[in-house]
Symmetry: C2
Subunit: 249 residues, 2 copies
């Protein structure tokens, strides 16, 4: 009886593999890979704060303690899901030509980074988890190495390429954690004009700026106000600067 219940719960989380199984084989046993994939799905669906060991277990139709047979602890789960995201990036980026003309390193890198960004937009929790990791994921090392290869074939010294990777920072992975989202001050548009007038005395430049510019496409926003347009502006600024530094060297 408990058995059947467990089966039903697991089926929800993993319909496809279950359907193709023979009916006598009750459940494919848990594996580290299934645990990690379920963790990504859970974070995608309910947010990273819902990713607790207990929630993750129940998603897999299992008790929390069973997870510890497959992963050492929650840190290993977090390391693991970052690595899955890294794989997703590497697959997505795989289609992009590897050896562009040396003069064109910049647009090749641009395409890679914007592709990585597409992956991040599918997993909005990923930037935060990536930044919380102590050791770096193997798949993301591979991604970095591919960027480094582009720099090298584009004529960068290792020294400059090293600076370049640092200058890109998290932008290399397609995101830039923004710190200030004027749209997210908890006001709707109607009362914001009044609000702005009151703020003008304290932060005159900010208020004037907000009255002139505004964000347009909320769909492309990743967390704060890292929207597509701003991301590309910053990215191109850096890529241009790097190309000038390369030409100078």
């Amino acid at each position: 009886m408990t058995y059947l219940v467990r089966y039903d719960e697991a089926e929800k989380a993993d319909e496809m593999t279950t359907k193709t199984k023979t009916t006598t084989e009750p459940r494919s046993p848990l594996s580290k890979d299934r645990v990690l994939r379920a963790a990504v799905d859970l974070a995608d669906r309910d947010g990273i704060e819902s990713l607790t060991m207990r929630n993750l277990a129940s998603e897999l139709g299992v008790e929390a303690m069973s997870l510890y047979y497959h992963v050492a602890n929650k840190e290993e789960v977090l390391d693991g899901i970052v690595d899955l995201i890294g794989n997703e990036i590497n697959v997505a980026v795989g289609d992009i030509e590897e050896s562009p003309a040396a003069s064109d390193w910049s647009s090749a890198m641009r395409r890679r980074i914007l592709t990585a960004r597409q992956v991040m937009l599918r997993h909005p929790w990923a930037p935060g988890v990536i930044e919380s990791r102590i050791s770096i994921s193997p798949s993301i090392i591979l991604y970095y190495d591919s960027l480094l290869g582009l720099f090298r074939r584009g004529g960068f010294s290792y020294d400059l390429a090293h600076h370049a990777m640092h200058a890109l920072g998290s932008r290399a992975l397609g995101f830039s954690q923004e710190l200030f989202d004027p749209a997210d001050d908890g006001n709707n548009e109607s009362d914001s004009d009044e609000m702005l007038a009151q703020m003008a005395a304290q932060v005159p430049y900010l208020v004037e700026m907000l009255m002139e510019v505004s964000h347009d496409d909320p769909e492309s926003t990743l967390g704060w106000c890292d929207d597509q347009t701003e991301f590309e502006f910053g990215l191109d600024l850096i890529l241009d600067g790097l190309d000038r530094a390369r030409a100078r060297a």
Copy 2:
């Protein structure tokens, strides 16, 4: 008796005000400000993971539940300590001349940002907490407004200044969360040569780069491998790019 014990514990956390108090007055009552300052001290001393309501309370010689009389919840504590850091930045930045020659907006901003970075280096937990906040701190809004003023007086349109703030991202506050710290793979130097040889097949460029370049000053490192040299390289790259964009406009 319990009374005296409480007094002694609290004195440790706040010697100065206690010393100047009359001996009949036992304790200055808790206040939101004292709670927040104790929270900053605790995070500075023992790390942000030690900042629990129970730890914070005992630091103040009080029970955890007492804190809730002064702050609504832990989120308010975190918002509050970020605001304290913002104040610290504004004080440190206050000495810098406000109205440089228009042509010199860049070096004036550079000084401000590197000053903000000094504050961050004193509070290594601050970047993480800042990025975790939903609403922005008033003191940091003030800081942003001062940067915006520099852009404006330097000849930037609001539109370009807006892009510029986004391009700077967290660099405006003096940090850039780095994602990859090759030095932190858990190896000491002796076995790393062997290690590198094994990695070479998978990530050839990375290995070759690591053999050529290395980080030198661990003192200037903020968390990952955001060291002073790399931070300034990235910052100058962006500031240069922005100045070119301004001249073009």
